[in-house]
């Protein structure tokens, strides 16, 4: 089908492309699922639509009436995706955003009419979550969908991302994605463990703790409730860390194959490559890795063109993910 009544119908059904040319082992295939093809530009379009539709089903949101206000903490993509959905559904969106995200994200939020509430950059995403919680408590008439705790977040991936992966890459043996809210990993992971229990589910985490100097104490730490609700520790088979330099390096390597992707996708690809290296030579494997968004929002970081040492140093103060 190539005619659509609404942009919202363009969400999902993203393509997968063979990136095995970057696999370190000839016996391991790697397929990249291109979530940047979603209309607001990231995997979060699926989540935003799922969150809003769930709230409409349970009556917290009433479409078409106008005047209802939503608030959500986001370091970028969820806010942008929610802004698109809210504009089309007639809601007003307030996004709590750390001050140190790349400027393109702020502009995209403004494109779709969202209001930005600044949270302290040195407190990172955790600070944005805390401020949104506080503002929501002070303004109970605002609807707080809270992607970190809302089952509609992983459900979006259980219902759409995961079935698409299994239909397009039925030979999948390993699934690799960034952790973030854990929505992708919990939703896709749960579907895979039910339908294809041999599939290994790997989480990739960027070391944001190194750059977030507001985290003076572990009491400022945070584990998303959806991770706990889905028994994340049991669902995941491995969780690995990817450093800023590797993330930038693999973002650049993907461009060799014509893939212009965001820096968290470089991190996910670095994770897929580490996963591939663990496969014995006498076995075959097929890894599916989530490419969460495209590179447009990160051009101002110089990630593709500047000296890599400078880009890595900048990553200590700017949220690239």
């Amino acid at each position: 089908m190539t005619r659509y009544a609404s942009v919202l119908e363009l969400i999902g059904s993203t393509p997968v492309v063979d990136v095995s040319a970057l696999s370190p082992k000839a016996n391991v295939a790697i397929w990249a699922k291109l979530e940047g093809r979603n209309p607001a530009g990231s995997v979060k379009d699926r989540v935003a639509l799922s969150l809003v539709e769930a709230a409409e089903r349970d009556g917290r949101l009433i479409p078409g009436q106008g005047g209802q206000t939503l608030i959500e903490p986001s370091s970028g993509n969820t806010g942008i995706a929610l802004a698109l959905v809210c504009r089309l559904r007639g809601y007003h969106l307030k996004v709590v955003l750390p001050t140190n995200v790349s400027p393109e994200r702020r502009q995209l939020l403004e494109v779709f009419g969202a209001e930005i509430i600044d949270s302290p950059g040195n407190e990172g995403s955790n600070g944005a979550v805390r401020l949104a919680q506080a503002l929501s408590a002070e303004n109970p008439e605002w609807v707080f969908l809270y992607q970190y705790a809302n089952p509609a977040n992983p459900l979006a991936h259980y219902n759409s991302t995961a079935p698409e992966i299994v239909a397009d890459v039925p030979e999948i043996t390993h699934f690799v994605a960034g952790l973030g809210t854990s929505g992708t990993l919990m939703g896709v992971g749960r579907f895979l463990k039910e339908k294809l229990p041999h599939v290994q589910v790997w989480a990739v985490e960027p070391p944001s703790g190194e750059i977030v100097d507001g985290l003076r104490s572990l009491d400022d730490g945070y584990v998303p409730p959806i991770f706990i609700d889905n028994n994340g520790e049991e669902l995941l088979d491995r969780k690995i860390i990817v450093r800023p330099r590797e993330s930038i390096e693999w973002t650049r390597r993907l461009s060799e194959l014509g893939l212009f992707v965001g820096i968290s996708s470089g991190a996910a690809m670095a994770g897929a490559v580490k996963c591939a290296r663990t496969i014995p030579d006498d076995e075959t494997a097929t890894i599916v890795v989530i490419i969460a968004d495209d590179g447009w929002k990160y051009l101002s970081t110089g990630a593709w063109s500047d000296d890599i040492d400078e880009v890595v140093e900048r990553a200590r103060t700017t949220i690239y993910f």
Binding site: S75, N77, S125, A203, E210, I240, K274, I319, F321
Partner: protein
């Protein structure tokens, strides 16, 4: 820790290393381990690149020159 970001500690398991760390820097004990010896829920411990919660937790064994990284759990919403 005491202004240092990289320090050398001996031990055969992650738990041994963390315990030894808390004898050198007693102030951080509650930040690393619970009273029952398990990892603090907001602490992520990596041996080289791997989160030890998926390698056996504090029992995970370590080898010479392994690098252990301690990071607080952070909410990342942009993925």
């Amino acid at each position: 820790m005491g202004g240092e970001s990289v320090i050398a500690v001996e031990g055969d398991t992650v738990g041994e290393v963390l315990l030894r760390l808390t004898t050198t820097y007693p102030g951080i004990k509650g930040q690393l381990l619970n009273d029952d010896g398990t990892l603090h829920r907001f602490l992520n411990v990596y041996v080289n690149d791997d989160d030890v919660r998926y390698l056996g937790g504090v029992q995970a064994s370590i080898a010479n020159n392994d690098e252990i990284t301690l990071l607080p759990a952070v909410a990342g919403g942009a993925w």
